[in-house]
Amino acid sequence: MFIQQLINGLTLGSIYALIALGYTMVYGVLLMINFAHSEIFMIGAYIGLWALTAIPAFASFTITGFIITFLVVLLFSGLLAVSVEKLAYKPLRQAPRLSPLISAIGVSIVLQNLIMLFVSNQSMPLPEFKTTRYQIFSAEVDTLQIFIFCFSIALMLLLNLFISKTKFGKAMRATAHSHSVSQLMGINSSSMIAMVFFIGGALGGIAGMLNGMYYGSIKYNMGFFPGIKAFTAAVLGGIGNVKGAMLGGFLLGLIETFSAGYISSQNKDVITFCVLILMLVFKPTGILGENVTEKV
């Protein structure tokens, strides 16, 4: 049972971690909580469903069809996040800090209602994927779970490389450190912010697609709970810190799964949030929060 719970927790955690990255990167650069991120996650799943069903060539689940579907999701959800930034946050850059936050909540409500009114207010099933199940020490694991875990890890490693090794990553870190000084050094902070939103949105959209594949159906309000949980994960790991978000995501998935499996399934959220409160009492910055110089 332990290994099975570990697998359950890691799958759940990898989705949380992918969403948490979007929250934490935006916070790192703008010191703002992007509440519309959970809606990017939801719309990512809808784009994925659309790509899988609308384009007949993809429906056969060939490897290329799959890759193209993911690229479509990545591109469109990234672009959506960027346009949300341009429309709803950029005009408020000089406004008090509360204004973009409220704007974000507004965007979230608008996006959710758009899907509800113009797509469907019911759950929509995704095509069922043929998976093979393996037994590891009496625990069941299927190809989809392995895929979700490996794919998320790969994306996170890529992101880490991008931030620490490339010139763009360096520029992003500089922007996070100080907008005005980085601008004096010739960095276009506006386009860096757009890039942060693109990457965060793309990862969120992919997380939505993975979530939809894993649970088999998607719905206009599917973003709410994972969004809250991923935000918690970002805080747990230290908001503003990319590695912290990854760690926080996996940790939260595991805490949730183990408290549901071993203590009480009806109180698992209580336990999870108690852990968060304890964490914030003893280390308000989160697990990896002190790492201020590498905020993005």
Partner: protein, 370 residues
Amino acid sequence: MYKLISVLFLGLILIAGCAKQDKNVIKVALAGPLTGDIAAMGQGMKKAIEIAVEEANQSGVLKDKKFQAVIFDDRADPKEAVSVANQIVSDPQIYGIVGHLNSGCSIPASQIYAKYNLVIITPASTNPKLTQQGLKNVFRVCTTDDVQGSAAANYVIDKLKIKNVSIIHDKTPYGQGIAENFKATFENRKDKVLSYDGINTGDKDFKALLTKIKTFKPQLIYFGGVYSEYGLLSKQAKELGLNAVFFSDDGSSSPEYIKIAGSASEGNYVSMIGIPPAKLKKAKAFLDTFASKYPGTDLQPYDTYTYETSKILIDAIVKTNMDKSKIADYLATVKFDGILGITSFDANGDTLNKSISIYKAKNGKFEYCE
């Protein structure tokens, strides 16, 4: 120019406002979840009351007056239900309420209606507590959880020959109530309940709990709750290699369940209050109207009940000659001959016409078992 437009606009609002105060309109309210997780059922209820009202108007029972259905969305949320109830009682033209769907909504809302002597007849709230509040204005056309939970338990023991079960509920008054009732009946007959757990509505991942349940090796898992979680539970159990049969209640008996669970729904059971619409001889006319008016739309579980409830309310309004204060007394003694058979109410306001049927999911459809 802008002034002119705004004056015109104001005028329009005033005209619309006046139209609302038309004295020749008798309003009946429907309150239920039109948006949110279980919107499918609420939307079905809306269609049903609209058909009933249209038929009443066509038959001309009110001569110069007309019935009108007014629809309120409680989003399956008790807080929202209370605010909807306050809206309803502030409209003097509303003569009674059909709804709400969720017991958690009906119970607090019914107390508000009681203050204003408005009758509420619920076609769908099955928690016994609703009619045990000592309120004279509350009636119920559907069978209660205590009947449904024990009927399910008896079926599981007698027909499916199952010796041990695990029980899951969704912590709502409805889901937990029905699960507790199932548990009590099952334990009374000396069979084993291996585990009893709650889950959160709106959650998507139940694998942790199912992994724990798998170690108990239950033959059957009973779930008290609604279809969104029931679907995910059935699906995730199959993915974990947990081969127990699933059994749930009327809240889960929606075609949506099969959509969510996919092939994992095969062979799982639900119980449903009443007799299936297709087996009711008198319901044929309603089913035909429904099918011709909403082609391609599945009949949701409470549609026939909502239709019947609307008919009962309309009949009571007509028979009492539109006297709000007499409707509750009239209903207490009514013998209504409708599509569900004869409906009359006991001292609490519960229907005496109680029946339960069991369905099994087969080839992507619910099949009637008994």
